[in-house]
Structures are given as C-alpha cells and as structure tokens.
C-alpha cells in the first residue's frame, strides 16, 4: 500500500477532540448522576415535554411549508436584488435571538404595527405571548434556513430536465409531479428534521415569548428549576430528558443530512419555460422579504432614537459581550484548527465524533452539568463569563468544523508531497502552509463563532448574578423592567456588534487572499 506520511501530526487534534468529548460527556455524566428520579416527572414536566414537541413540530411544518413556495419563486424568477435577498436569508443564523424578538414584538406585539392597523379596523390586537408567539419567532428564524435548503434542492435539478420537460410541453401540475415533487420528497424530510432539532433546544425564544405552565419548553424548565426553585436534582432530571430528546433528534437530522453545508452553489442560472403566474411568485417573495425585514427595520428605527442616551450599564454589558465573544472565538479556533488538521490527515473517528457531540447536547444541559461539576470548587457565578465563552465555543464547534475540514483536507492533499519533499512538517507546515491556505475559512468560522457568542442568551442566564451581564442578558432585563426605549437601543447596538464582528472577521479572512 501507499505510504501516507503526513506533514502535520494528528495528535494535537485528537487531544483537543478528547478534551471536548470529556467536557461534554463529563457534564452529561454529572447531569445523569445528579438527576433525582425518586419523584419522577411532575405533571408540569410532562406539560413542558408536550409543549416542546408541539412547538417544534408546528415550527418545522410551518417553516418548511412556507419555504416551498418561496424557494420555488426564487428559483424561477430573476430580479434585481435577488442575490442580496438570498444572502440575507443566511443572516438569521447569526442574528441575536433577543434582537429578533424585540423586532417581532414591535411588529406583531400587542402595541405593534399589525395590532395598530387592526385597531383602526376596530379589531382586537394580536396576542403574541404563548404558543403562537414561540412558533412565530421560530418560523422567523427557520423559514430562511428552510428556504435556502429547499432552494438548493431546486437548483440541483439539472437544467436539462427542465429543458426536456419544456420540450414535452409540461407545465403546472404535470411539471410539479414530474420534476419537483420527487426533489421535494427527498429534501423536505431533512429540512423538517433539522428545524425540529433546532427548535427542541429553544431557550431564549421561550424565555421571552413563552413561559407559564402552558408555554414552557424543557430548556426553559431547566432554567426555572435552577433560578426559581434552585432544585439541582430536578434541573438535572429535566436535562437528562432534554438530552435524550436532542440526541435522538440530532441523530435523525444527521441521518437525513446530505453532507452539504449551507450556502454552497445557490446561484446557478436555471431557465424555465413554464411561466406560472408571476403575480403568485411576486407575492411569496415580497411576503417573505417583508416578514424578515420588517422586524429588523423596526429594531433599527426604534433603536436609533434611544441609541445616544443608552444607560452606561448597557455599554458595560456590551464591553463584556465583546470580551466574551473574543474569548469564545479564540477558544473555538484553538479547538477546531487542530481537529480540522487531524481529520484532514485521515484521523476521522474520534475527532468527528467529538465535533458532532456538541449537536446532541443543549447549552443549558451542558451549563447544568458544568454548574454541578464546578460548584464544589468555586462559586459558579464568579466564573459565569469564562463558562459562557467556553460553552459558546463548544456549541459553535460543529459548524466551524464543517467549514474548516474541507479546506484543511484540500490543503493537505494538494501540498503534502511538496511539503514533505522540502522536509517541512509539524508546526512549520501548520503555520506556514495550513493556516495561510485556510485563511478565508478561518475568517468565516471565526466570524460565525463571534456573532453566535455575541448574541447568545443561554448559559449566561443560568450562571450570572445581578452584577454581571452580557448585552443580550442586559437587554432581556431591560425588557423585563419595561424600559423598552433602552432595550431597543441596546438591541441596535447588539445587532451592530454581532453583524459587525462577523463582517470584520469574514472580510479579514478574505483580505488580499490569493486565488
């Protein structure tokens, strides 16, 4: 067999993968050991389970259902701003949840635009809190994702098929049955599975728009067991339940996943000869764009008025968030780069497994486990920020690996012989060849990690006392205190910080990059 000497060692990557696996599995073990099964599940726990499943199913079905006509319209129409709109569909992934919720409240809330219009017509205002609010927010976040995935399916249909169908004079239902339905049958189950899995671990949405006995997710119930009752045993029991749920859903989603990441090849020109009604397509595109853009526009508009009178605690929280995001990004790169190098040199097994583990555990479950583990050693609130940075990094790891591994693999395949023939290996190869060749992907992954950490409202809520706050937590507290003006200003600041950090890092990676 061919000798496959490698210019870079896989040992550091396997080491970091082992650390990640130990961290995740360790916290899960802590949760499992601490869980108090004596009392069993209370009726409220069953209600939380029911609500979690109901909202996840509804969110997945509605997102995917709406995504189909939107993607169909986008796939067969060419118009100015189409590319920008498709790019925008990627934005909710890094949009801080609290910002979106504020925007949704301003548009759909009791005192929002829609309710105002309804009021003019003499109709009662919409009620956004509860199941429909949670589902609305989830559709806001996942409709774009679903649209991109379905659109990708449409664009993967070879142009020749459409040509053939046009030649056979297919249109309307015939075209749908012949070409589009088989594609949807293949794509839609995976879209449903992914969104279902994402919505299972919903915390910030449920925290702000849900609550109460009728609208509490398991993730939120963990938080409540913690903060209201300080019942660690019950939090751990709920965490175990959540873990079983997310692990099963993640497995299902991975089974359906087709290996391709988000964002690849979305703009191949497909010409279609079956016109369809342009009005219908225009309706779907405009409606989807409005649904996504109005809440964001609303945050920007309302935020600007309060922006220059923000209380100092908001700026202090912003500084904290920037620090946490920077630390989280650094941790992510320290973990992900050696792991990507190890996978690239052919050591998949444990490394890829460790990368996927992050998908199976939810932030609050890991948070609960970490809380249990470190409480005997230090006061958990004292390490709230480092723990947040760490958990954020671990949560971003699966995404980062999907971005980094193909580039690392490509670089090793392409340059390993040249490097070996020059006796260039180990750290020299890593710093002189691998890192420079992966710059664009490192920038993209770092940007994602920074933005996700900046906007995260999860573990921090579990660990922080009133003295510490990241910006999302501060905004949440301001909303709780009905200081909506300051909350809107803070939300605008957060929006700028997370989008800005993504933009700077992503751009930085591609700056002066050679082909």
């Amino acid at each position: 067999m061919a000798e496959r000497a490698q210019p870079v060692s896989s040992i550091p990557g396997i080491g970091t993968a082992a650390c990640v696996a130990a961290l995740i599995l360790g916290t899960l073990a802590a949760v499992a050991l601490r869980a108090e099964t004596g009392g069993g599940f209370a009726p409220s726990d069953w209600a939380a389970l029911r609500f979690t499943l109901t909202q996840a199913v509804l969110s997945a079905v509605i997102s995917a259902g709406l995504a189909i006509p939107v993607a169909r319209a986008l796939s067969r129409r060419r118009f100015p701003g189409r590319r920008a709109l498709i790019t925008l569909l990627g934005a909710p992934f890094i949009l801080p949840v609290i910002v979106a919720i504020l925007g949704l409240l301003q548009v759909f809330g009791r005192a929002g635009w829609i309710s105002d219009i309804l009021g003019l017509l003499g109709l009662p205002p919409i009620r956004i809190y509860g199941l429909h609010g949670v589902v609305l927010a989830h559709v806001f976040f996942n409709l774009p994702l679903a649209t991109r995935l379905v659109l990708q399916g449409w664009q993967e249909i070879p142009a020749e098929r459409f040509r053939l169908a046009a030649q056979l004079d297919c249109s309307g239902m015939a075209m749908f049955r012949l070409i589009e339905w088989p594609m949807l049958k293949r794509i839609v189950p995976s879209v449903l599975a992914v969104i279902f899995a994402i919505c299972l671990t919903s915390f910030a949405v449920a925290l702000t728009l849900g609550g109460g006995p009728r609208a509490t997710t398991i993730e939120l119930a963990i938080y409540q067991a913690f903060t209201y009752d300080f019942d660690l045993g019950r939090a751990a029991l709920l965490s175990a339940l959540q873990l079983a749920l997310t692990a099963a859903a993640a497995l299902a989603a991975l089974r359906f996943a087709r290996g391709d990441g988000f964002g690849a090849g979305l703009d191949r020109a497909i010409r279609r000869w079956d016109g369809g009604a342009p009005v219908v397509d225009a309706f779907w595109i405009i409606a989807a764009a409005a649904f996504l853009l109005l809440p964001l526009a609303s945050v920007v508009i309302s935020g600007m008025s309060g922006f220059f009178e923000l209380p100092t605690q908001v700026f202090r929280a912003a500084l904290t968030s920037v620090t946490v995001a920077a630390a989280s990004t650094a941790i992510l790169l320290v973990l992900a780069l050696p792991m990507a190098a190890a996978v690239a040199t052919g050591r998949h097994g444990i490394v890829e497994l460790a990368g996927i583990l992050g998908l199976a555990a939810s932030p609050l479950v890991i948070g609960t486990g970490l809380f249990i583990l470190i409480r005997p050693l230090v006061n958990p609130t004292a390490v709230a920020l480092p723990v947040t940075a760490l958990v954020n990094a671990v949560m971003a790891l699966p995404f980062a690996l999907r971005i980094l591994v193909p580039a690392a693999r490509d670089t090793v395949v392409r340059y390993n012989r040249l490097a070996l023939s020059l006796d260039m290996k180990g750290l020299v190869f890593f710093t002189r060849v691998l890192l420079p060749r992966m710059r664009a992907q490192i920038g993209f992954a770092a940007g994602l990690a920074a933005a996700l950490s900046m906007g995260d409202l999860g573990v921090i809520a579990l660990f922080a006392d009133t003295q510490v706050a990241t910006l999302p937590l501060q905004i949440y507290r301001l909303m709780g205190a009905y200081q909506m003006q300051a909350a809107a200003g803070g939300a605008l600041l957060l929006l700028l910080l997370s989008m800005g950090s993504f933009w700077i890092l992503d751009r930085g990676g591609r700056w002066h990059a050679e082909a």
Binding site: E3, R414, R417, L418, L420, S421, M424, R432, P436, A515
Partner: protein, 230 residues
C-alpha cells in the same frame, strides 16, 4: 550512483519491479506507456511510496529509513510545486530552510538563484502574478538552492506549450551542467527525452528496465514501446 536492488513497488493491485542502477551525473529519461508505473517508480525513489521488497541505495547508503525531506534529492511534481500564498523569494527560501527564516548569506543565495533562472527583480511576486513559465523558473530556482545530488522531474512542464517546455528543459540541462547532479526525468514525448538525456529507462509490462542509450531505445523500440509511440 543510484542503485535499485531487486525492488518491488506496489500501487494498489499493480506491482512494479526494478533492478537497475544509474551512474552519478547521468541524465536519464523514464519512458513508457501511460499507466506503466513511471510515476510509481519516481515516488518510490523520492520516498512517497514504500517498497514491498528490495532496497534503494544512493552512493551505498540505504534510503529506506530516510523520509522524503531527508533524502539527497529534489522533486518537481506535475503540479503544485509552489505555495500560492508565498512570494517567489519565499518559495525558493523554503528550499534552504522549511521555516523560511534565512540568514543574510542565505538570502543572497536565494537572490542569486532567482537571477540565474532569469527572474531578477521578481522575488516579491506571488505565483498568481507570474506566468506559467515563470512559475516553473521559481521551482527550478528552489531546486538550485536545495543543492541535492539527484533531481527527479515528474513532467513538471507538461502544462506548458511545446516551445516553452523545450526552453525549460534547456534551462534544466544548463542548470545541472557541471554540477554532478543526476537527473531522472519522466517523459511522454520522445523529443524531450532526446533533447536532454543520453540514457533512458523503459517502464513497461510491470518492470523498470536498466537504462540504455536514449537514441537507441527510441530508434529500435521494443513492441510495448512501439505501440505507445505509434
């Protein structure tokens, strides 16, 4: 002297045998049909492929335990001979030190090598800012500073046009003239082989045959080579 002693080299299901030696400072073409194992032979000598059995010696030293970078040879591959993110000068520098940190004297050596291949003043350019021929010249400048006894060419100029390819081969011949360097060069084109080599190794039917005079081999090709040459 390069000596391949009863070597068996496996590549998947295919096995190539080689039992031959090449004199120091000889220029030798490796010719044969596609898929006959020319690259496999070169990879084994360069250390990218293990031997199933047999040994390879350079001047009496067994190369077995020497990794590719420690062997007394420089290789130019079909492609990817340069790092695209490094300048021409840096690409040459890694031939002296892989980490690219050179002393003043070594910098002068790099500069001289670039001058020698006709790239004076272009050291700061990245490969993407150079033409195909200039990129080949950078790779040759690196071979120069590596100062290895053996030079292996796996058709590095195949992507260049005929005139440019001939120019590069002449440059290779010029660069190694009088340096005692032994050249092994894979070739698909009999003209290339005649151009700069006196001897040729025929790789065909699962074996690499001992070198014989290039002209003689090409003028009176055995059947396996005749089919290929057409």
């Amino acid at each position: 002297m390069l000596k391949l002693d009863a070597c068996k080299i496996a590549n998947g299901d295919f096995t190539l045998t080689a039992d031959l030696h090449v004199a120091t400072a000889a220029s030798v073409a490796i010719i044969g049909p596609s898929g006959a194992g020319k690259s496999t032979l070169l990879e084994a000598i360069a250390g990218f492929r293990d031997l199933t059995s047999g040994r390879i010696f350079w001047n009496g030293d067994d190369l077995k335990d020497q990794p590719p970078g420690k062997r007394p040879l420089a290789v130019l591959f079909q492609d990817n001979n340069l790092f695209p993110h490094l300048s021409a000068e840096q690409n040459v520098s890694v031939g002296i030190r892989p980490n690219g940190r050179l002393t003043q004297d070594e910098h002068a050596v790099v500069g001289a090598a670039l001058d020698r291949v006709g790239l004076s003043g272009m050291g700061a350019r990245k490969p993407s800012e150079l033409s195909g021929g200039q990129q080949s010249r950078v790779a040759l400048a690196r071979v120069l500073v590596q100062r290895r006894d053996l030079l292996l060419l796996d058709e590095p100029f195949a992507a260049l046009g005929p005139a440019l390819k001939a120019e590069m081969l002449d440059l290779v011949a010029d660069l190694i003239a009088g340096t005692n360097t032994t050249l092994l060069m894979i070739s698909h084109d009999p003209q290339d082989a005649r151009r700069i080599t006196e001897q040729a190794i025929l790789v065909a039917d699962g074996a690499a045959h001992p070198p014989e005079a290039t002209d003689q081999l090409l003028d009176n090709p055995p059947p396996s080579l005749r089919d290929y040459l057409g």
